[in-house]
């Protein structure tokens, strides 16, 4: 029983952390159909800005929020100058966001150097449940992720902005004829996705070492979270996808090593792409 509870807690932590990292990608992919290959670089940028904020003795929480806004702003500029002209050609946006990754990674290397940085865990210690100790910081991250996803759900399903966005996904031309400013809405969604990526990068920074390629690990897994969960199923899909990808990796790693676990997950994701491209549990 206690073992089951601790496995459950562990899986929840992994699921929600992965969901946090994938959320920005799910927003952009699910709502405006852009495969943001720059997502990993945006996570990395968020982590570096948070690190830089701490060097300037800005408190951790403020640094993370600032990082989110800066990355969101960079995303907005990128959208405004480049991406908005290519919404109708998925290959071009894919290549351009990948180019964003290449250029950003190089700039990070030039500005910050290639060596590892550490962001000190602002909330060390753990919560003792008697049978299991949960790290405080990871718990806070999970609570925050749940909050972000629920509040996005609230905006999406309970406000007029949400109705407009859903109308736009359903029928872009019609929504535009009814007076919805499509290009502005796209801009806001893209910016929000980048903001979330920057925020997530800052938040995961204390759990990893910060390096120019730290976002790569999350990039491909985030894609599979989105695909397994189902594109457009931003809220439930992200959670389900993270649960399947993160959970599978943890379970396989119990029986073999980490590398085989990753291979198994990627293999599984390719199979899902083939047999259930609409997402593992979603209706067509």
């Amino acid at each position: 029983m206690e073992l089951a509870a601790s496995v459950l807690l562990d899986t929840t932590l992994i699921t929600l952390t992965l969901a946090l990292a994938a959320f920005g990608l799910a927003i952009i992919y699910g709502l405006i159909g852009v495969i943001n290959m720059g997502h990993g670089a945006m996570l990395t940028l968020g982590a570096y800005f948070t690190w830089a904020g701490l060097q300037l003795e800005i408190p951790f929480v403020l640094s993370v929020i600032l990082s989110g806004f800066i990355v969101g702003f960079i995303g907005l500029l990128f959208e405004h100058w480049i991406i908005k002209r290519f919404y109708n050609s998925p290959y071009e946006t894919l290549l351009l966001t990948w180019a964003f990754f290449l250029v950003t990674t190089e700039l990070i290397k030039i500005v910050f150097g290639s060596d590892f940085r550490t962001v000190v865990n602002p909330y060390p210690g753990s919560i003792d449940l008697g049978f299991y100790k949960i790290p405080t910081y990871r718990t806070l991250i999970c609570v925050f992720t749940a909050f972000v996803i629920l509040s996005t759900g609230f905006v999406f399903f309970r406000t007029s902005t949400g109705i407009k966005i859903r109308a736009m996904i359903q029928n872009r031309e019609m929504a535009s004829l009814l007076g919805l400013n499509i290009s502005l809405t796209y801009k806001i969604i893209f910016g929000f996705g980048c903001f979330m990526a920057g925020l997530a990068g800052g938040l995961v920074a204390p759990m990893l070492s910060v390096s120019p390629y730290m976002g790569d690990m999350y990039l491909v897994r985030s894609f599979f979270v989105v695909i397994v969960g189902g594109i457009g199923q931003i809220l439930s899909g992200t959670i389900i996808g993270s649960f399947v990808i993160g959970g599978l990796e943890t379970i396989v790693a119990l029986f073999s090593d980490q590398v085989i676990a990753q291979v198994a997950v990627f293999f599984f994701a390719i199979v899902i792409l083939r047999i259930r491209p609409q997402g593992i549990f979603s209706e067509k």
Partner: protein, 335 residues
């Protein structure tokens, strides 16, 4: 001779010129360039393997480096287990076959379900990561992180003739010969009916389907050919470089191939081939003068090409050529 020359098209003349130039380089230059150029020719072939997918058929693969690495590991592993005669040829064949089979299985698995083009990109991305991870973890076979040393092979025909590729000039001509043959085969393929159907798929897949062609078979076949070509280039690369390690399969290398093809010209086979050679040499040169900024420069050039010059260098040259030929020429690609 004169008649033959006037009959063949401008592009074919250009291709002939490039290969003649490559053949005469050892007569003029010596030293490092003779060592490194075969490697770039193989990169050129790798670029061609992407261009027949991207430019010809309209499919992007982020996994070409994976096939390249399979080829390199195949020859490395076969040559190391020296119990076989003619292990070199066997290694090259194995590289081609394994790559083609993997490409065929993955390709058919995805194409037969009409998986979206952008999903296919993600699947190939995952494929290349799987190959990289396996290369890292299967230490007994691949040497793990440390990689694998591969001897320069010698090609033997029976007992009489043995042709060692240890020196640079034999290696150069050996690579050039194989590159030329592979290039000619690909060129033949793209001008055949098969190539026409692939172009049709790129322009309008539903229409080709309606004409009665099983497009998923055609896409699988071209992905197979592309994988085989990348594996072939990789196997020669293995023996040329003398060393194989998991970084050959990394996603960044796959995307370098995309950058070469974008800059060289995705719609042109010779453009992609030259893109591979030129961008790789340029990268090498920039790396020696500004090690910090060269990747940044190439990244920015890549963005500029994707936004402004969809046809890449080859497309640009073609346009200039047509402009010069007729003043009334209206660009077909950028109306």
């Amino acid at each position: 001779m004169q008649n033959v020359l006037t009959k063949i098209s401008g592009e074919a003349k250009f291709e002939l010129l490039i290969f003649l130039a490559l053949a005469s380089i050892p007569l003029v230059f010596s030293g490092y360039i003779l060592f490194i150029l075969p490697q770039y020719m193989l990169f050129g072939l790798l670029a061609v393997s992407l261009s027949i997918l991207w430019g010809l058929t309209g499919i992007i693969s982020f996994g070409q480096a994976g096939f390249f690495a399979i080829g390199a590991y195949a020859i490395g592993i076969v040559v190391k287990s020296t119990f076989l005669m003619n292990s070199a040829i066997l290694g090259i064949l194995l590289g081609i076959i394994v790559s083609a089979v993997i490409a065929g299985v993955v390709g058919y698995f995805l194409f037969s379900a009409k998986v979206k083009a952008t999903y296919f990109v993600l699947a190939t991305l995952a494929l290349s990561i799987i190959i990289e991870q396996l290369a890292k973890s299967q230490k007994e076979i691949t040497g793990g992180w440390n990689g694998l040393f591969v001897d320069r092979i010698s090609i033997s025909f029976g007992d009489l003739l043995e042709y060692s590729l240890f020196n640079d000039i034999p290696m150069y001509y050996f690579t050039l010969l194989l590159t030329t043959i592979a290039y000619a085969l690909i060129k033949f393929l793209t001008t055949s009916n098969f190539g026409k159907i692939l172009r049709g798929i790129r322009e309008n897949e539903d229409r080709i389907l309606a004409l009665g062609y099983n497009t998923s078979i055609y896409k699988t076949l071209i992905f197979c050919v592309s994988g085989a070509l990348a594996g072939f280039a990789g196997s020669i690369y293995g023996t040329h470089a003398g060393f194989v390690d998991p970084s050959l399969a990394r996603v960044l290398f796959s995307t370098e191939v995309i950058v070469w093809v974008a800059i060289g010209g995705r719609n042109s086979i010779i453009g992609s081939f030259l893109g591979g050679i030129l961008v790789a040499s340029l990268a090498n040169y920039l790396n020696s003068i500004t090690p910090e900024y060269w990747q940044l420069i190439i990244g920015i050039v890549f963005i500029a090409v994707v936004i402004l010059f969809k046809g890449g260098l080859a497309g640009g040259l073609e346009e200039i050529y047509h402009r010069l030929k007729s003043k009334n020429y209206v660009s077909a690609r950028n109306p």
